[in-house]
């Protein structure tokens, strides 16, 4: 069970990308946990990183910063960073902050993976 206050990160390996499934909340108190998990995946040399937000309830600006860092690092490594499964609330956060202009957002996993 996912505790509402916690962040759970589950990793799935697809043939095209590594998929990070986040559940719970990302805020200032646990953004560093996400950052470390993401770094590990990037350092392991993945061609693409897909964030699946299906079970994510909340992300703060500290969390958005981690996503931005991930996208930058992947770009430097000639890889792609993709996002899917945003709840209405998180889509709104992306829209207001303008992140939807900068990060590629898809409705579903298969839509995202089709672009890799």
């Amino acid at each position: 069970m996912t505790n509402k206050t916690q962040l759970t990160i589950r990793t799935e390996q697809d043939e095209k990308a590594v998929i990070l499934c986040l559940a719970g909340r990302v805020d200032g108190t646990n953004a560093n946990v996400l950052d470390e998990a993401v770094r590990d995946k990037i350092d392991a040399g993945q061609p693409a990183l897909l964030f699946d937000f299906e079970e994510l309830e909340y992300i703060s600006s500290a969390g958005l910063r981690v996503l931005l860092l991930a996208a930058r690092r992947m770009q430097a490594a000639k890889g792609k960073t993709l996002f899917c499964g945003l709840s209405e609330q998180i889509a709104e956060v992306f829209r207001v902050s303008g992140f939807d202009h900068i990060l590629p957002v898809f409705g579903t996993r298969s839509e995202a993976l089709a672009t890799v």
Partner: protein, 395 residues
């Protein structure tokens, strides 16, 4: 490293000679330097004159002031001095008393100088460890002081005093979270007719966020004096912030310019929560986004601009997500609906009442749950010519 200075306190002159003789190699090599006193009083005077002495070897039975009295004084006035008692074998009662008064160790007479040597070294190690601990503590105090400085930096990120005008009232509240946050607001008079309103939120906390906040505020203030267009200003600030921004820190900024002559409010929104436009009859609407994103993310972006008209009696309410994302104990968010509910509450409110009502409502909602983000808002109300209650009152 200079010699370790050790104070020997004994009324027997023989011991002084013996010590000089037995430790002569270490004295010659510059490892130890001995000072001598003949009673407790002399010892205290010697310590007063030589603050670098941290180790005392003392006899118990001495004229004027005995060793036990000396220990009592040391414990009270010189906590950084450690004493080793040298006393006659069989003088166990006095030795127990000495240990209870804080003596670090004891050796018995006749003195076994090998044992004394080992005891001296052991005591010196302890003294060094203590000194290190003190230094670490001082460093910690220094870091805390730095954090206080960062807090000051954050608070200096907002105007100390808001200008007062005949045509408008303005009020701002910032309740920083426990950790140093990255919210700021600004309000300035560009000239006698035009007002600049800013609200912003940096993506991080702590000292880096405080510094980023300060830089952003300074850049925007400087841009606002050179360019009339808010979009142009955000563009310029963004270009600066994007340079060498390896930490990927970003800041959401809303900047608007209100012209009091015609009520035109021109703004650009760099990824910030849309402020609210309130009319005198209680209608609340969001100021539409300008299709832009937070500053510091991507350079070369041309920011958009919107124009709305604000008439006397209307109000503008700018806020950060610390308000809408404030959580109660059940982790429910305060949310925009509650915010709009307070803003559109029937009773017309002046600028101060607006800000205080919202923050008060948030506080009641969270009901003492931990505040994770800064809570910041800036409200402005144009005075109504009719002078009705809602538009009156500046602060």
């Amino acid at each position: 490293m200079g010699a370790t200075r050790i104070l020997m306190v004994d009324d027997e002159e023989d011991l002084e000679l013996l010590v000089r003789q037995r430790f002569r190699r270490r004295i010659r090599k510059g490892e130890y330097e001995f000072l001598f006193a003949h009673n407790g009083k002399e010892a205290l005077e010697a310590l007063e004159e030589n603050p670098d002495v941290h180790l005392v070897l003392s006899d118990i039975n001495m004229p004027v002031m005995d060793g036990l009295t000396l220990l009592g004084q040391l414990e009270e006035t010189k906590p950084d001095v450690k004493a080793v008692i040298i006393s006659a074998y069989g003088d166990m009662d006095n030795i127990r008393t000495a240990m209870n008064r804080g003596a670090f160790d004891f050796v018995t007479k006749p003195v076994d100088f090998n044992d004394l040597q080992i005891t001296i070294e052991k005591t010196l190690k302890h003294i060094n460890a203590l000194e290190q601990a003190l230094k670490n503590r001082d460093r910690l105090v220094a870091i805390r002081r730095e954090l206080d400085v960062a807090k000051q930096v954050q608070l200096s990120g907002v105007p100390a005093e808001l200008p007062v005008g005949d045509a408008f009232g303005v009020h701002a509240i910032m309740n920083p979270a426990k950790e140093i946050g990255g919210d700021f607001y600004d309000f300035f008079e560009l000239d006698e007719h035009r007002l600049g309103l800013v609200i912003a939120d940096v993506s991080d906390k702590g000292v880096p966020a405080a510094l980023f906040t300060m830089i952003t505020r300074a850049l925007l203030k400087s841009s606002s004096r050179r360019h009339d267009s808010p979009a142009r200003c955000l563009h310029e600030v963004n270009e600066f912030l994007c340079q060498d921004n390896d930490a990927c820190m970003f800041v959401t900024v809303f900047y608007g310019v209100l012209d009091l002559r015609d009520g035109s409010f021109r703004y650009s929104n760099g990824g910030h929560n849309p402020p609210r436009h309130l009319t005198e009859d209680g209608a609340v609407s969001e100021l539409p986004l300008t299709g832009d994103f937070a500053l510091g993310i991507a350079d070369g972006h041309d920011f958009g601009e919107n124009l709305v008209t604000v008439v006397p009696g209307d109000a503008l309410f700018l806020y950060t997500d610390g308000i809408t994302e404030a959580c109660n104990h059940q982790l429910d968010e305060y949310g925009e609906d509650r915010l709009d509910g307070v803003l559109g509450d029937g009773a017309p409110m002046n600028a101060r009442e607006l800000a205080e009502s919202v923050v008060g409502s948030v506080e009641r909602f969270v009901d003492g749950a931990t505040q994770f983000d800064d809570i910041t808002c800036l409200s402005l109300r144009l005075r109504s010519p009719s002078g009705s209650a809602g538009a009156n009152g500046s602060q």
